[in-house]
């Protein structure tokens, strides 16, 4: 039997993997994918809670997150393409014209 706890555990693990990816990966595309993982961890938690509480609010939120994430990725990928054209790399360590 899959309980609310299982879903939340999976969601917490996904979120942790996402945060780790954002912090340690150096490729801008992979960082973006890790951010998607964080968003989907939150989505999973929302859906699980919505079912547990028999409330549609969480499901509605998930729809908005999906739509906004798509818009965010559209802009993000456009920026990554612009970076690649200007610099020939998408490695965030090499994108360092500006320093402290």
């Amino acid at each position: 039997m899959v309980t609310l706890g299982h879903y939340l555990g999976l969601s917490a693990v996904l979120f942790a993997i996402g945060v780790t990816g954002v912090l340690v990966r150096r490729n801008a595309l992979v960082v973006f994918m890790s951010i998607e993982l964080m968003l989907n961890a939150a989505n999973l938690a929302f859906v699980a809670f919505a079912r547990h509480r028999a409330d549609v609010g969480g499901l509605v939120f998930v729809f908005f997150v999906l739509a906004v994430a798509a818009a965010e990725v559209a802009v993000g990928l456009a920026i990554i393409i612009a970076i690649y054209r200007n610099r020939g790399t998408v490695n965030v360590d090499e994108i360092n014209l500006m320093r402290w």
Binding site: L8, S11, F15, G18, V19, V22, A28, V31, F32, I35, M38, L39, A41, A42, N43, A45, F46, A48, F49, H52, R53, D55, G57, G58, V60, F61, F64, V65, V68, A71, E72, V75, G76, A78, I79, I80, A82, I83, N86, R87, V92, I95, N96, L97, M98, W100
Partner: protein
């Protein structure tokens, strides 16, 4: 919970007139961009008209009372109205700044101006959100559109680098925020701010979940107001973005972010206690925010000390000012919130003023480096004088507007008996004098190149500078009406 009246859908539409007018102006601007020949000027005129209409309609809402609109998604109240007015005023000024800016002219596209309005609409909804769905949507509308604006000069390496850092930080911060929201939703079963507050007060929420939710939500809001430790994007984005966009980012998302902070933390995570507000249940977020405030202003000021690029210096300065404004929130009192709003308004004039000088002179200055300001006092008398006024005002020296703002902030913190924070703030103000005066010293004392001869500022920028210097000086001497207006706009909360 304060007495919000629930409005039905038809009545709600009437409460978002400023946003509707701004959206209509945006759509019109897109069409004008397609058909007009002098499109940059035409689009800018449409956007300006939208901002002026938005400003007037927002000011008209100041006395309109308080209501929940669209089934509790957003609020129409005087606090939202005053922040909307700030947003539209700043957007209109930035649209004017951009007209003569070489960085914007190079790319020569009209959509730049129309996107300013989209950010403004998002900022308005941030300032009036009453439900976490609205909090998330409005924040993302501002973040994503701001990223497009930062990346606007797409052949500029620095601009695209700044945009990448901005969107990566923004997306990660909002990811953390919605995870926090999902935990709060699970624990409370509601997404409305007042519902979350009720659940927290009733004590049915497990402590750990509540703490995680409150801290994670701070990531999303802290990113918008550039509070430590969510400030890392700020220096790079300020330096890399086109200067008018830097000016825009320094005030519009920040003002809206503070509006959101007040709403989410006071109405969502707080409860009303007699004449004031306190944190709900056992959460001690005011102490957390006090520490964040102290760290933000200290790191901002220390970071600014050794900067040689003026835009980067202004980034650290804006981090420091976010810390000062947070001081007012920590007090959680009417005087504290009043001080925040006054400071945001005053900050609008003095900070946009610095950028107006920078943009107006950008054709004649070699770079954004402080070194290129050397000898400016002799070559460009009025801009150098205006710059001096703005910088002294940012430091908080009387009789300028910045002093009024700081006076209210410190009074509120001392009133709330948080003496250590007031001392940290006072020491920070002293530190900030050093780096602001360094610019003034470069302009007046250090010898610079003289072969360029006197610099004539374009008429548009002279007019803008006058329009920004006057309130900076007047509000330092005669702030009664402004303070009265902001205080009246907060009365409904206390």
């Amino acid at each position: 919970m304060t007495g919000y009246a629930q409005l039905d859908l038809a009545a709600s539409v009437g409460q978002i007139l400023p946003e509707l007018v701004a959206t209509a102006a945006f759509l019109l601007a897109v069409v004008v961009d397609l058909v007009s020949r002098r499109r940059k000027e035409a689009v800018c005129a449409v956007v300006l008209a939208g901002c002026i209409a938005g400003l007037v309609l927002s000011l008209a809402q100041l006395k309109a009372g308080q209501s929940l609109i669209f089934a509790g998604m957003a609020a129409a109240d005087p606090l939202a109205a005053i922040l909307k007015a700030v947003v539209f005023l700043a957007t209109g000024l930035v649209a004017l700044f951009s007209l003569g800016s070489p960085e914007i002219r190079m790319s020569g596209r009209g959509e730049y101006y129309s996107l300013l309005l989209v950010v403004a609409v998002g900022a308005c909804f941030m300032a009036s959100a009453m439900n976490f769905v609205m909090v998330y949507l409005a924040t993302e509308l501002v973040t994503v559109t701001s990223c497009i604006l930062v990346a606007h000069a797409k052949d500029d390496r620095r601009a695209s680098e700044a945009a990448l850092k901005y969107i990566l930080f923004g997306a990660a911060a909002s990811g953390v925020m919605i995870y926090g929201i999902s935990l709060l939703y699970g624990a409370t079963g509601t997404l409305s701010l007042t519902g979350v507050s009720r659940a927290l007060v009733s004590g049915q929420v497990p402590g750990l979940v509540a703490v995680l939710g409150v801290v994670f939500v701070l990531a999303g809001i802290g990113y918008k107001i550039a509070a430590v430790p969510f400030h890392f994007w700020c220096p790079d984005v300020y330096e890399g973005a086109p200067t008018p966009i830097t000016a825009f980012l320094s005030i519009v998302p920040e003002a809206a972010g503070f509006g959101l902070l007040i709403r989410v933390y006071m109405l969502g995570f707080g409860e009303r206690m007699g004449q004031g507000w306190a944190a709900a249940a056992s959460l001690d977020w005011p102490s957390l925010l006090a520490v964040v405030s102290a760290l933000t202003m200290t790191l901002g000021n220390l970071g600014a000390l050794h900067q040689t690029n003026l835009k980067r210096l202004m980034a650290y300065s804006s981090i420091a000012h976010a810390g000062y404004i947070l001081m007012g929130f920590v007090a959680l009192s009417k005087t504290g919130l009043n001080a925040m709003i006054i400071y945001i308004i005053v900050y609008l004039f003095m900070n946009l003023g610095v950028f107006a000088v920078l943009i107006g002179l950008s054709r004649r200055l070699a770079s954004d480096q402080i070194a290129s300001f050397r000898g400016l006092g002799g070559r460009a008398k009025f801009p150098a004088f205006a710059m001096t006024v703005f910088l002294f005002s940012l430091t908080g020296i009387p009789p300028l507007a910045g002093f009024t703002g700081k006076f209210y902030l410190f009074a509120a913190v001392i009133d709330a008996k948080i003496y250590w924070l007031a001392i940290v703030g006072a020491l920070n103000s002293v530190v900030s004098l050093y780096y602001y005066v360094r610019i003034i010293k470069a302009m007046y004392i250090e010898a610079g190149e003289t072969e360029g001869g006197p610099i004539q500022l374009p008429a548009l920028y002279t007019a803008l500078l006058v329009a920004l210097v006057v309130p900076t000086v007047v509000l330092g001497i005669f702030w009664g009406p402004l303070a009265g207006m902001t205080e009246a706009s907060l009365r409904f909360l206390f």
